[in-house]
Symmetry: C2
């Protein structure tokens, strides 16, 4: 079903790319650049270019698979790195398939050793999946997103199908997975069922006829199994696209809850904003690459401005606002900025309060607010005053008749709009 | 179902042997000796002794499992080595379970590489199984034999059950199997599904609650998996009893069709008899141990006689006759012996024709047959003559009035009774 809950038949998938080569247009190359942005690895690039070219020529969307373990529904920005990539591909017409690994989740840890992985019920899984989608749909285009549960084809495999599937892969190839090799050499037990999981995951790609599978770098081996199994089953093999794990706010460790260096996507706007403002300039550019939807050209422009002397804090505010807006709203982003700056008033004022110079002291407060562009009109300015939303140097203005003499004031409207106004006498 | 086709519920199995120790009687020790006769290995002997003691005390039969691949229904004597052991245990009251591996047989070789292992249909499997039982029941006690098909519990396992089963065993333990280690080291591919087969076989033991599993030496690893899985599933672990692979007629290679050193159990009596008479004396004693149902005491006696000068050919005839009788009949065994000896008359006479010295020439032929103990009475002797069953020096005797003068004659009655008669004049 789609994220809207509608049932969809399995897409039969595009025709094999083994026919005549489709023309590679500028648009195809652009799509490739979008795919490559920030990625760790794209395999095989030429295959992917051919798929993109075919899709463009035929209008048939490509099928983008993301496998999900329905056990950890509380997302942070690190999780959105792959979602962002998917959204970028959706924006080019392609189709995202969320593949919920309910089959293995319902098994839990069959060895019984790992008590942190109890078997989940169908209800828990669907609830977790729903929580996940509610969060993921803040990034994704719901209309181009499909949700599938792998028990749909894994259970019907049966014991025989499992054996037939396992026959398609050799132990030697399985042992190429880094952690298997390492554990085997170190004498750390590997249960036989652990060898089956990559095969089940790969079989999902067969069942879904996926064109590309996304995952973290740590998933590369499993993604490749899918590619190879599709070939074994006579399908055009999927490409694989691995995204790096996002650094946390410290810029050193990977973002994770346990390191407390994360930004949760359901976190309150002010908290989200504040955390993002705290990162280093270097990490900010990294976050631009992986978390922003600004084009690479726009980011390059911003970078050039900062190199030429613009305060990097401006760029950081833009990033923080973009992200707060994505997960909350534009208004929440503005308020978060205001709150952030307000906090800084008692201590160091935020560096990026706009400087405004006005002439015509003494000036009525409503007029000042309008001229400093803190209100669109004096009428609106007066309403702000009536609502108690206007402060001058931190003190609330109660009197609409107030006239300010010449001087410099920090003027604030609502929680978010600030200006440092220098009011001069009329010429 | 039993071999008679009757449905039987699964025996719940005996109570665990972990309770109070049951008394070990002489009869228990005798049963242990029967179990050990000719075996390669019995693991764990003390467990088996405890099971035997319990069974004797409670009257609950033990469950003896033999796994069978329903693809090769044409048995030779090598295959009967384990059947013989089972029969010996049946004769002590225990129950044999023929476990037909139809689950994997219906899969065939899932890699598709081994064209000699095509998937079998249910009909083919049942036909093969029937052929097998028809042959095996020449050795076994049908009333104490049960037939089970492992698809009964393997299919319901499902894909999830397979994963749960695979979780009970580590890769490291699986790699202890000789051929896996060898192939892995040599870079010879091992398909992942090959790791599942020992587990499926072991799960059969769990499903059957078997007390002991029999197999060839080459099966030891798989038998041990069953033992360990039973423990994992909270059952009393089965014992394992491996029997050696029988040497073929050459006494060097293992008996096999491809080496053409075998005796098929459906082979014609004369062929069977002749082949067994051709083996070396040394191999004969080996065959006594593994193929004869004579007691160890009887065999020791026979051996002592031969050591004291008795012609080993006598012992060979006894063995050949026992085996021909088992797979055909007593009459067929007698005829085979006679035919065998008849063949030898034209050329080298068999060495073991009894020498008889009689006095009273000229002597009527019926009298001579009686005195040489070739007929119980002259009446019977005359009947033999009338039926054309008496030869003197290879020539048929037609005249009951024939009187033989002094001399030495090879006298034959029927196909089997011979004597070399030296007839002397009366004293």
């Amino acid at each position: 079903m789609t994220m809207d809950g509608q049932k969809k038949p399995t897409d039969p998938g595009p025709a094999p790319a083994t026919g005549p080569a489709w023309p590679v247009t500028d648009r195809t190359r652009e799509a490739l650049a979008v795919s490559l942005r920030g990625c760790e690895e794209l395999l095989v690039e030429s295959d992917w270019l051919a798929k993109l070219a075919r899709s463009e020529a035929t209008g048939a969307p490509l099928r983008i698979k993301l496998g999900l373990d329905p056990t950890a529904p509380d997302l942070h920005l690190g999780h959105t790195v792959v979602l962002n990539k998917m959204r970028q591909l959706q924006d080019r017409g392609h189709r995202v398939i969320f593949l919920i690994g309910d089959f293995t989740a319902m098994i839990g840890d069959p060895s019984g050793r790992n008590t942190t992985r109890p078997p989940l019920t169908r209800e828990q899984i669907e609830q977790n999946a729903q929580t996940y989608f509610d969060q993921a749909s803040l990034v994704l285009d719901r209309a181009r997103t499909e949700i599938r549960y792998n028990s749909e084809w894994s259970d019907p495999l049966g014991a025989r199908g499992m054996i037939q599937l396992a026959a398609k892969y050799t132990l030697a190839r399985m042992m190429e997975r880094d952690d298997f090799t390492r554990r085997f050499r170190a004498g750390v037990p590997i249960s036989v069922h652990e060898l089956l999981y990559p095969l089940m995951q790969g079989y999902d790609s067969v069942a879904l006829k996926s064109d590309i599978e996304l995952g973290g770098t740590d998933q590369k081996f499993n993604l490749l199994v899918g590619r190879e199994l599709q070939r074994e089953y006579g399908q055009e093999p999927q490409c694989i696209l691995t995204m790096p794990l996002l650094e946390g706010l410290d810029g050193v460790e990977k973002m994770s809850k346990s390191k407390n260096n994360y930004v949760g996507i359901t976190e309150a706007p002010e908290s989200m904003f504040g955390k993002l403002m705290s990162i280093s300039d270097e990490l900010m550019w990294r976050y631009y690459e992986l978390l922003s939807f600004r084009s690479l050209a726009q980011i390059a422009q911003l970078r050039a401005e900062c190199a030429a002397g613009r305060n990097p804090r401006d760029a950081k505010v833009l990033l923080a606002q973009e992200i707060v807006e994505r997960f909350h709203s534009r208004a929440a982003a503005d308020e978060a900025l205001a709150a952030f700056e307000a906090r800084f008033r008692h201590g160091a004022l935020p560096e990026n309060i706009p400087e405004v110079v006005l002439r015509g002291a003494p000036m009525p407060i409503a007029q000042l607010l309008k001229q400093a562009q803190l209100a669109p009109s004096t009428t609106e300015a007066n309403r702000n005053i009536e609502q108690g939303g206007v402060r001058v140097d931190g003190e609330r203005v109660g009197d609409k008749g107030l006239k300010l003499p010449a001087g410099t004031y920090v003027v604030q409207v609502g929680k978010r709009r600030f200006a440092r106004v220098t009011l001069e006498a009329s010429a």
